[in-house]
Amino acid sequence: MLLSNFKIGQSGKVKELNNLPVLKSRLNHLGVIEGVKVTLVRKAPLGDPFQIKVRDFYLAIRKDEASKIVME
C-alpha cells in the first residue's frame, strides 16, 4: 500500500521511503520516518498535492512523492 493510494481520512504507519533521493532526508528531519503514523487529511482541488498529518502538524506533499512512501 502506498500513501498515494490512501483514501481521505485513512491513517497508517510508514513502512519505508523509496527512491526519494532529494526529499528523503528532509522528510526524515520533519519526522516522517519508518513507523510513524500518517493520516491523509485532504487532497487539493486537482487531486494533488496531499495534506497529511504527522506528529501533530500538517504537511503538504505532492502525489509523486507520496507514491514513493510505502505504508504498512
Binding site: S25, D48, P49, D56, F57, A60
Partner: protein
Amino acid sequence: MNDIIALVGNPNCGKTTLFNALTGTYQKVGNWTGVTVEKKEGEYKKNKRIKIVDLPGLYALKTGANDETAAYKYLIKTPPKVIINVVDGTNLERNLYLTTELTTLKIPMVIAVNMCDQIEKKGDKLNDKELSKLFGVPVIPVSALKNFNVDELINVAINNEKKPFLHNLNDYKGKTTVNKRYDFIEKNIKNIINKPTIKMQTFTEKADNVLMHRVWGIPIFFAVMVLVYFLSINIGGLIGKKISYAFEVFSKTVEIKLIGAGVSEWIISLLCNAVISSIGGVTSFLPQILVLFALMAIIEESGYAARVAFLLDRFFRSFGLGGKSLLPMIVSCGCTVTGIMATRTIEGENERRMTVFLSPFMPCGAKTAVFAWFSTVFFSGSALIAASMYFLGILCVGIFGIILKRFNAFKSNNGGFLMEIPPLRFPSGKDVLFVLIEKVKEFTTKAGLIVFAVSVFLWLLMSVGVSGYVGSDIEKSFLFVIGNALKYLFYPLGFGSWQASVAIISGFFAKEAVVETLSLISQDVHTVFNSAYSAYAFMAFILLSPPCIASLATAHAELGKKWFLGMLLFQTLSAYIVSFVINSIGFLIERRLGLLLSVLIVIIIMLSVFYAIKYLKKSKCRLCKNCKKGEKCQRVKRFTI
C-alpha cells in the same frame, strides 16, 4: 565585548516575533515557512550590551549528508555566548528534533517553549521540569506574541552556563541517527506533555474544511482577492481623494497668494505644479497602499497564504512553477522588492529564476494605485477593472511561464514540494501595525523622494526648451521633443502620445510617478488616451513592464548581470505583446466585430507572425553561411541557451 544570544528554532515557531519582542524592532512576521531568509541582528531593548541574532528557521542543522545550513556554519564559526532554542509548544515532537541536534554543538543553551498560552488552549499540559531534566538546561515557557516571560527568558539565558546533555542514542533501535533521535523523543515525550485522550476538532481544522475545500477553496481565494482590491480601492481611494482635493485647494491658495505678492512666474510654477502636486500625489496614494498592505499582511500572517499555495500548487506546476513560487507572488502583490527577496526560499535554482522573472507581473501596491486612478478616470470607478489587472497578471504568469519553460535554463529540476501548513492564527494587530509603520517610512523616503525628484526633473524638462523658460507653452519644451520621439514606439499599443511615453519612462523610477506625471503634463488625460481600451492597454503595459528601480536593483542582486538583462528584455517584450493584443482586440470590438471574433482574429495574426518568424529562422542557419541544417545545426545549438 557584547554578549551574543542566538535564536535557533524551526521555521514558523515564532522566533521573529520573539526577536521583535526582545529588541523592540519590527521585522516582518509571517505565518509560513521561511519568512526570515537572512540572519538579523538587534540589541536587547533593556540592555544594549546584549546582542540578539535571529537565525533563519531550520528543521535540522545538516539538511543532507554534506549539506550544512547557513545557520549551522554560523554557530560553528562564531559560537554565541548562549543559544536560545525556540520550540513551538503546540508541536513539540518535531521541534525537539532540532534540540537533539543542537546538543552536539556543546554551546550553553536555554529552551524557550513558545506559544505556551496556545498549549493550554489545545488542552495539553506542559511539564517543563521534565523537559529541563531531559536536556539538562533551563526551560522557560514564553509567549512572544503576548510578551509573556520574555524578559525572564533573557535573564536566565544571560546567566546560563549549562550545556545540554549529549545523550548516548545507541540504546535506541532505529537504523539511522535521525531515527534514533526521533525514537528518543518519542520515548520521552509522554512525560513532557500530557495530551487529552479525547481530541476535539480544533479551530484550524474546522476552518480548513472550508478554506481548503476541494470545490470551494479556489473560488473563496478569488473572492478574497477581489475583496482585498475592493477594500483598498474604495476605502483607501476615498481617503486618498479627500487628501488629493485638500492639496489642490492648498496649491490654488498658494498660487493666488504668490501671484499677489508678485513672485516670478517660474517659481510659482515650480512650487505649485511640481513640488506641492508631487507631495500631494504621493500622499493621496498612501491610504490605498496602506489598506492593501494591511490586508496582505493579514493574509500572510494568518497562515492563509500557505493554504493558497497548497490549493494552487498543481496549477502552478503546469507552467513550471511550484506552490513555493506562489508565496513570493502573493508577497509581490504588496511590494515587488519583498516578493523578489522571498524567492530565496525556493530550492530549485531554475524555478527560483523563473519566479524572479515572473513575480513582477503581479500588481504591487504602487501599480494598484495607478490602476485605481485609471479605473476612476476611464471606467467610472469600477473595482472590477482594477481587480482584472490582478487576474491579467496571473494569466500572464501562466502564459509566459509556459513559454519560459521551453528554455533549458527554466526547466524545473524538481526539488520536490514539502511545505508545512501552519495552524491558522489570528494576526496580531501589533504586527500588522508595524508592517504599516515600516511601509509609511519606506514610502515617504523611497517613493516620496523619487516621485519628488522625478516631478521636479520633469517640470524642468517641461518648462525649459531651446528658447529657455517656456512657461505653459509645453509644446516648445524639451519634454515634448523627447516624448514625441518615443511615441512612435507605442503607436501599435494604442497610446502613441508623447504624454504616455513620458509617463512610462517616469514609471521606471517609481510606478507611483506614472499618474503624477500624467496629471502634471496633460491638461485633460482623456485626450492622451483616445479610447477606454487604449487606457486599458496602457494599464497592462504598466503592469507587465519592468518594475521600479528598487525592484530592479533587488532583481539584479538576486540574478546577476546576465540574467538581469535577460529579465529586462523579457518583461519589456511581454508588456509590449500583451498591450498590443489588448489594443488590437479593443480596436476590433470598436469596429463591431464582437469579442469572440476579435480575440480569434488577433490570435490568428499573432500565431501567423510567430510561425513566420520560426519559418524564417529555420530556413537559414544563423551562423554558418552555406549550411542548410537551420536550427538543427550544431553551431547554433551551442550558442542558444
